[in-house]
Symmetry: C2
Subunit: 114 residues, 2 copies
């Protein structure tokens, strides 16, 4: 709907937050998450698959997600990802950080030369 596309440099800071948020609702896998993100953003942001999968491996190294192979009846094997307790913690932290970012940027934009 919106004609404003959000730049990668802006979204860069929120990739992890978005992935962790989706996993809060239950285990998922790459392809599904990329569809979810595209849908929820009304196409204003398309998370590239390479971006997504590299984020998964980064998050797994950090212990925030855990992967396991999922054999679906009919369909190719998928790698599912689950949120760990540390991942939940990190998600909450990221939400707080998002709040702080909103405060900070709003402060910069709104101030009418103090």
């Amino acid at each position: 709907m919106g004609d404003i596309t959000i730049s990668s440099d802006v979204m860069r800071g929120y990739i992890d937050l978005i992935i962790l948020r989706v996993l809060c609702d239950g285990d998922s896998y790459g392809y599904a998450i990329s569809k979810t993100v595209t849908d929820l953003s009304d196409g204003r942001y398309i998370m590239k698959e390479t971006t997504l999968y590299s984020a998964f491996s980064r998050l797994e190294k950090l212990g925030y997600v855990r992967s396991y192979p999922g054999s679906v009846s009919g369909g190719r094997e998928r790698t599912y990802y689950a949120l760990t307790p540390e991942g939940s913690q990190h998600y909450l932290y990221k939400c707080d950080e998002w709040g702080a970012t909103q405060d900070l940027i709003s402060k910069f934009i709104k101030r009418e030369d103090d």
Copy 2:
């Protein structure tokens, strides 16, 4: 005041926005801007000088700012930066993008598994 520090990956998307915003209030130079940013963020974000100066050169290449040498009576020579009309335009665009980002991230965080 806030104990939450905002990560570089988050701020990465807003460096240009912040610089352009400061220049809206009048010409300025690197050192002054870095102080302004630290002050206004209550120390939650410290823009590194290398980050700032490389942003300046990027913004100048894009035609969003214009630099000129400023000889101050007493004190070392400074390079001042001024906003161009294109820079003003770009600033407004970045504000819209910021609005779109707020909408999108809020949507992700708040949804209670519709």
